[in-house]
Symmetry: C2
Subunit: 450 residues, 2 copies
C-alpha cells in the first residue's frame, strides 16, 4: 500500500481530467487513505472526484478530511449533495463540520435535512469544543429492559446502519436515565429468551457532557471500553464517545501538553495548517514574559559588577553553571508534568517525591561537579575550581527542586502543570543560579580591594 504511487497515478488522471477513472481507482482503498490522497489535489479536482462516489462513502471520507479541506470541499457542493453527505456522516463529525461552515452555507444545508437531524446537529454543535459533548455522537443503540435477547438482536440488526457502534446497547428508563448496558458479546452468549434486564450490567461507568473531553478518553483507557455513555445535567443519557475518538483525544492532549512544555500556546490547527501569524501569536506571549523574567538575572549580575570586573574569568563559567541548573530543572519538571497528566502521581505525593528528588539531584550534582572541577582548575586555578564545583552541586539541587515543585504549585492554583515549561524553568533557574554563583564566589574568593 504505497500512497506515493497512488498519488502519481491520481495526478496523471486529474491532469487528463479523467475524474471518473480517478474515482474508480480510489474506490477500493480504505476511506482514510482516499481522504489523504484527495487532500493532495486542488480543491476543485478533489470535489469532482469525491462527488462521483456513493453518498455513504462520501460521508465516511469527509470524516477523515482535515477541517480546512472539509470546509473547502463542502462550500462548493450543491445543496442536495451536501445535505445527503450530512445525513450519512457520523453525528459527532457532522456537528464539527457544521461549526466550520459559514452562516450562508449552514442555511444551504439545513432545509435539506429532516427535522430530527437538524435538531441533532444544532444540539451537538452547541457544546464547547473542550468538552465531552463536542466529541460524542448521538447515534447509539438503545434496548428495552423487557426485551428478550433475540428481540434485542433484532433491534441491533435494524439500527446497525445508522449507529456508530453496535457492540454496546444501552437501556434507558422512561426519563432517559441510563439503567444498564449490554455488550453484543453478552447478548450473543445469552439464551434466546433471557431478558435484557437480567443480562445487563448496572452501575455503568459514564462520563458527563460538560467534563473535559480528556476525561472520557481517560475512562475509556482505564476500563478498556469500546464506548462510554454520556450523561447531561438532568442525568439523562445524550450520547456516547467511542474508542477511536478516545485515541484521537489522547493524541491531541499529548500534543497540547508537549507544546505547553515547550512554551507554545495551544494551536487550534495542525502545525502544517497553521498560518505565520497564528504561530507568531502562539509563541510571542511566553517569549516576552520570559524576557521580563530574565531581567532578574541581569539585575543580579549588575549587583555583582565589582566582583565581575575584578575576576572576569568568573563569567566564563556563567552559561555552564546556570544552564546546568536549568537543564536539571527541566528534567524534573518534565517527569512531574507527565506523571501528573497520566495520574501516575497525585498532588498529595509532592512531599514524598521531594525526598527522592533531593537524593537524585545530590547524586547528579556530585557527578556534574566532578565533570567541571578539572575545567575550573585549568581555567582559573584551585580556588575557582572549588567555587565552580560547589556552585554546580547547589545549582543542580536547587534547580531540580524548583523544576520538580513548579508543576505541583501550578496544579495547586488550578493551573495546568504543563505550563511548567522547560523555558520557564530555565529562566527561573538562571536567576537563582546567578545569585548562588556569585554569592559562593564572594564568600570563598579572596577579592583584591577595588
Amino acid at each position: 500500500m504505497d500512497l506515493q504511487q497512488h498519488i502519481e497515478e491520481l495526478n496523471q488522471l486529474v491532469e487528463r481530467e479523467n475524474y471518473e477513472n480517478a474515482a474508480k481507482m480510489l474506490l477500493d482503498l480504505p476511506d482514510a487513505d482516499i481522504a489523504e490522497l484527495v487532500s493532495e489535489l486542488e480543491v476543485d479536482a478533489a470535489r469532482r472526484i469525491v462527488t462521483l462516489m456513493e453518498a455513504r462513502q462520501q460521508a465516511s471520507i469527509f470524516g477523515y478530511l482535515r477541517p480546512a479541506m472539509q470546509a473547502a470541499l463542502a462550500s462548493g457542493m450543491s445543496r442536495r449533495q451536501l445535505a445527503s453527505v450530512f445525513e450519512l456522516m457520523d453525528h459527532d463529525e457532522r456537528a464539527d463540520l457544521y461549526n466550520r461552515l459559514s452562516e450562508s452555507e449552514r442555511w444551504a444545508v439545513l432545509p435539506g435535512l429532516a427535522h430530527a437531524e437538524r435538531e441533532d446537529i444544532r444540539q451537538l454543535a452547541s457544546y464547547d469544543e473542550e468538552t465531552v459533548g463536542s466529541i460524542m455522537t448521538s447515534a447509539y443503540v438503545t434496548l428495552g429492559a423487557d426485551q428478550t435477547a433475540t428481540q434485542a438482536l433484532d433491534t441491533i440488526r435494524m439500527e446497525a446502519p445508522d449507529v456508530e457502534t453496535i457492540y454496546q446497547g444501552y437501556v434507558l428508563d422512561s426519563d432517559r436515565h441510563l439503567v444498564g448496558a449490554v455488550s453484543l458479546r453478552d447478548l450473543l452468549l445469552a439464551k434466546p429468551h433471557e431478558r435484557i434486564e437480567d443480562i445487563m450490567v448496572k452501575g455503568v461507568i459514564s462520563s458527563h457532557v460538560n467534563d473535559p473531553k480528556a476525561e472520557a478518553a481517560r475512562l475509556i483507557a482505564r476500563y478498556d471500553l469500546i464506548a462510554i455513555p454520556v450523561i447531561n445535567e438532568a442525568g439523562q443519557m445524550v450520547g456516547i464517545v467511542t474508542h477511536d475518538d478516545a485515541l484521537d483525544v489522547t493524541e491531541e492532549e499529548s500534543t497540547e501538553d508537549q507544546h505547553k512544555l515547550g512554551a507554545v500556546a495551544r494551536l487550534t490547527t495542525s502545525l502544517s495548517d497553521a498560518t505565520i501569524f497564528s504561530l507568531y501569536r502562539n509563541r510571542v506571549g511566553w517569549l516576552v514574559i520570559l524576557v521580563f523574567g530574565n531581567i532578574f538575572s541581569g539585575a543580579s549580575l549588575a549587583h555583582f559588577e565589582d566582583l565581575i570586573a575584578q575576576i572576569v574569568s568568573l563569567v566564563f563559567f556563567l552559561p555552564l553553571l546556570i544552564d546546568s541548573g536549568g537543564n536539571a530543572g527541566s528534567q524534573s519538571a518534565t517527569l512531574m508534568v507527565r506523571a501528573l497528566a497520566t495520574a501516575d502521581v497525585q498532588a498529595k505525593d509532592w512531599f514524598r517525591l521531594l525526598g527522592k528528588e533531593l537524593a537524585v539531584s545530590l547524586l547528579l550534582g556530585l557527578s556534574m561537579a566532578l565533570a567541571v572541577s578539572t575545567l575550573g582548575y585549568w581555567r582559573g586555578g584551585k580556588e575557582v575550581a572549588i567555587v565552580v564545583s560547589l556552585t554546580m552541586i547547589l545549582i543542580v539541587i536547587v534547580g531540580s527542586i524548583i523544576g520538580m515543585s513548579l508543576p505541583f504549585l501550578l496544579n495547586r492554583f488550578k493551573l495546568d502543570p504543563a505550563s511548567a515549561s522547560a523555558p520557564l524553568v530555565t529562566t527561573i533557574c538562571d536567576g537563582v543560579g546567578v545569585l548562588i554563583y556569585f554569592n559562593v564566589a564572594s564568600l570563598l574568593l579572596n577579592i583584591p580591594d577595588a
Copy 2:
C-alpha cells in the same frame, strides 16, 4: 465512585483480617478499580483478598496490576492458583507476566498448563518488548471461507469465552495466510445463508510482528479499527492487537517522547516505581553531555575577555539574550518533534517549513527587540540599546532555525527527532548566542584601547 472511601473501608477490614468481607466489598467494582485498590495494600493482604475471588476475575485483575505488583502477588501464590490465573489471563498480558517471573517461578507455573498454552506463552514472550509481537494476543476468532453467516455466528458464540474480541473474525487459508476479515456487524446484517467468502473484506490492513509497536497503534488510529491482525515473517497470521492496547501504546509513546524532549532517557517503569538510582542513570547522561556542550560558550566568552573587562555592563544582558535564543529554539524544536511524531509533517517538508520559520522568527525577534530596547537604553545608553536589540533579533532567528532544523537533522541520521530536547537546543543556542552577541558588540561599540 469515590475510590478514597473504598480504600478506607478496605483498610479497616484488612486490619481486622476480615479478608472475606474485603473481597465481597470489592467484587462488584470494575476490575481496573479493584486492581488499584488492592495495590494500596500490603502484598500479603492483597494476595489473600484476590485469591478469594473467582479465577476468571483474578485473571482480569492481574491484567490491570502494575508489573511490580503482578510479580509480587504471583510469587506468593500456590502452583495451582497461579496456573489457573495463567490459563484465564489475556494471552498478551500473561506473556508479559511470564517474562517478569523468576526462572523457578516459571517452572512452577508451566507444568500446570496444557501443552498448547505453554507453547503460546513461550512464543508470545519471545518478542522484543518494542515490537508489535510483544503487545499482540493469540486469542482471536478464525472463520472458514465456506461457512455460512449462521455457522460463523455459532463459531463466534463458541469461541467468545476465550478470545479477546469477537467483533472481528479472520479468514485464513490452509497455510495460515490471512485472506479476509469479517466484522460481527457485517455478519449480523448478512442473510443467514450468505457465505463468509462473499461477505468478507479482502486486502485487510495488517501489521508486522517485528514492526515497532507504535506502528500498530498508528494504523488502528488512522483506520479507526477495533483490532489489527499481525503477520509473521512467513506471511502467516499470528495474532491481533486490540484498540485498548493501541491506546496504552499511544500513551506510553507520548510519555517517552516528552521525557526525551526534557532530556530524560527512557524509563522502563513508571515514575512512581522508579528507584533513585534508575532516575539518576536516566538523567545524568544528558546533563554531563550538555556540560561539555557548554564549554563552547565558556571558550567563546574567554575569547572576548578584553571586551568584557572594559564594558562589564554587557554581561548584564547575557542571560537575557542567550536564553531568548534558547527559548525560541525550544519552541520550534517542540513544534517540529511533535509534528514529525504525529506524521503531520514529513522529512521532505523541511525546506518548505524553513521559509515559514524565518517569517515567524523575524516577527518574534522584532517583538522581543522592542521589549528589551528600553531596558538596554536604561542600563547602558543608546549604543548598548542598539547592540542588545540587534542581537536579540539575530539570536531569535538563528535559535528558531536551529531548533526547527535539529529534529529533521536527527531524523535524517535515523535518530529520534525527540532527542532535540529543550536542554540540548538551549545549550547549542547559548554557544551561538554568545558569539553573536559579542561580535555585534565588537563591531558596533567604540571600545577604548586596553
